[in-house]
Point group: C3
Chain length 273, copies 3
């Protein structure tokens, strides 16, 4: 039952350490609050280990990375591992520059992540080193569709096996997979790609969900992805003729705020493969 995953977030109000980009950081903080968690942002090497220690989960997002924050990501990730705190990696733009690809790989090498979330292009870059990333959005040739879904699921399972992490590949169809079981999720709305940071927000949300459900990382991740997609649907239904992507951004966070575990259970649309 996905709803129990959400109930635990609301009940436990996990404190989530976010080392994330300055583009979408405010939305990440507000969506963590919306789901019932509590966010703290801190990216300096002189404090990240202490901040991680008082939290119950960490979300590392490499957008707008630099050498100072990369060092902090590594320190905080290792500390989270030491304390067995659930950790999410969002390899924003891996494949778009050597720095991003190398940093994502270095993080994967040095830190054990419970969840890795990206678009198919970013995940492929991590898995193979041969990405076709167009900026921070998935390359068109890399879209997951009904036609290549089985192939994408097999790819996600293989990468999950290799890394020990739950892999989340977001797109028109979202895949949430460990090495054995994949949730193929059909929630969401294509207008979500007209807002900056829905991916970043999902990573932050996922960190809150797995921190509240450390024994159920796969299911908690699926619940977070369904919640985000469902929020995108609810928010879209609410749009007036004059509303555009900026209001949509607010409505999505609002929808997470107003979502109940029961609504999530009813609205989640997924199959297992």
């Amino acid at each position: 039952m996905l709803k129990e995953m959400f109930e635990n977030v609301r009940a436990k109000s996990p404190l989530i350490h976010n080392i994330t980009n300055y583009v979408t950081v405010n939305d990440c903080a507000n969506i963590v609050l919306a789901c019932g968690g509590s966010p703290i942002m801190s990216d300096d090497a002189d404090e990240v280990e202490e901040i991680t220690a008082i939290c119950s989960g960490i979300n590392i997002n490499i957008g707008t990375l630099n050498s100072r924050t990369i060092a902090s990501m590594l320190l905080a990730g290792k500390k989270a591992n030491e304390l067995r705190h659930p950790a999410v990696l969002d390899p924003v733009g891996a494949g778009a520059s050597k720095l991003r690809t190398d940093t994502a790989k270095k993080l994967l090498n040095d830190v054990r992540f419970d969840v890795i979330r990206g678009n198919v292009s970013e995940i492929k870059t991590l898995a193979s080193g041969a990405g076709t990333t167009k900026g921070v959005d998935a390359g068109i040739e890399d879209r997951v569709t009904e036609n290549n879904l089985d192939e994408a699921v097999a790819f996600a399972k293989a990468f999950a096996k290799k890394t020990g992490a739950v892999i989340i590949i977001t797109g028109a169809i979202d895949i949430v997979s460990d090495d054995k079981t994949a949730y193929c999720i059909r929630n969401g709305h294509r207008m979500m790609s007209s807002i900056t940071g829905t991916g970043c927000q999902l990573s932050a949300l996922t960190a809150a969900f797995i921190a509240a459900n450390p024994e159920n990382v796969l299911k908690a991740s699926a619940a977070a992805v369904c919640a985000m997609g469902l929020a995108g649907e609810i928010a879209h239904a609410r749009l007036s003729e004059t509303d555009g992507n900026s209001s949509y951004r607010n409505y999505i966070i609002d929808a997470i705020y107003n979502m109940t575990p029961e609504l999530l259970e009813e609205g989640a649309r997924y199959e297992m493969r």
Copy 2:
């Protein structure tokens, strides 16, 4: 009369230098504009003294601090003192890490602040060195309630005396106090804690209010706190069933934008202790 404090902000449109975190910086800028002030954000040591010099007040917020910005905070704070510009300190997360606690104390030691604003946990950390900060939110055991209000007021007055600053402790009941007189303010709505940065915004707002009323720091601070709380009430009354914390964030800033000095006077709910 609190309304005169607000009238002066609108009349003088003070330019406020903000050295603040990248999480809530946009909201801080927009709320300063909403109240009638003008914000400028600048955090580099090579320019902060010049920027401070062209402003009439400064707001130093230590969220997402790092060694580069800490140096800038010290330089700018000292320059503000030299020019007798009103200065606000927001010790975000003091107690959550040694870096934050030490930085806040270093700032307190090297710079004379006119106002220090934080939650009870952050202020206690500064006063005693023995905080129980849970991330950036007040620890539950530290909440100001009707039962411990007198004790909290006495604490605020003592810390005001020690620092020479007006102390603002925000929570369910807000305390704004110098060494002799405390405003106990009952404006606000508990949903304000579901948004990131209402505290940061209040600090920026307070900087605008005291910069426009440098001879009346206590009353101007109380006016800012009442204005923020009243905005939280007005914004809450405006929420539809589908609105959540993200729309609420917008409505609070909107409410400051539309607030008149008269509305503030009528809506302010406080007592002196």
Copy 3:
């Protein structure tokens, strides 16, 4: 026809590299998405050249600059020149500090910009070294009005000739000029100055417009300025009594999202001088 400029943005969906301040960066990303472009933010010297290379235009904004990001601006700007990618400079706060003035001038010296956009005070600083910048907003004595419009146009043309760039001076009347022809644009609403970052957003929008119309930089810039102003008008018409500057911010981006090339053509109000 301005509408063709907008049609090209929607058709080509240019990827825009933004090195910009952390205050308004989220709004810049969302307005680029709203117009049909795709934004990527990256400011580290170790990757900016690669990021610029995968983009089709660049927007360099010096707000919240520091030595690390200044180096990145120079590297990225030179790479954009090498690849003949259209480049926009937004000299936020030039004149407000030596660092900002020197950085803007250094950028102008080392990088060839296709467009320079600022308020009259910032542009005057770049042109003469004798600015009267009051923070990041235009000094009152520097406003472009009907009375001094011819003088301002002559100034813009002279600076366009000197730099080889299209000059955009925004204010109550906007001027978009190369060395021979100036668009004097009367779209917009004065409430736009009550939001942080409408200027930054316009610079990002302009980068998307010129990247999609590299052979028509003047006209594409005029189209972007008209679109932004028209969005300000449409958004203002939509305001309810309780809406303020924060909702207005959302509505402006929404208006860009919903704008059609035809609406832009009909709503643009300009004359050539």
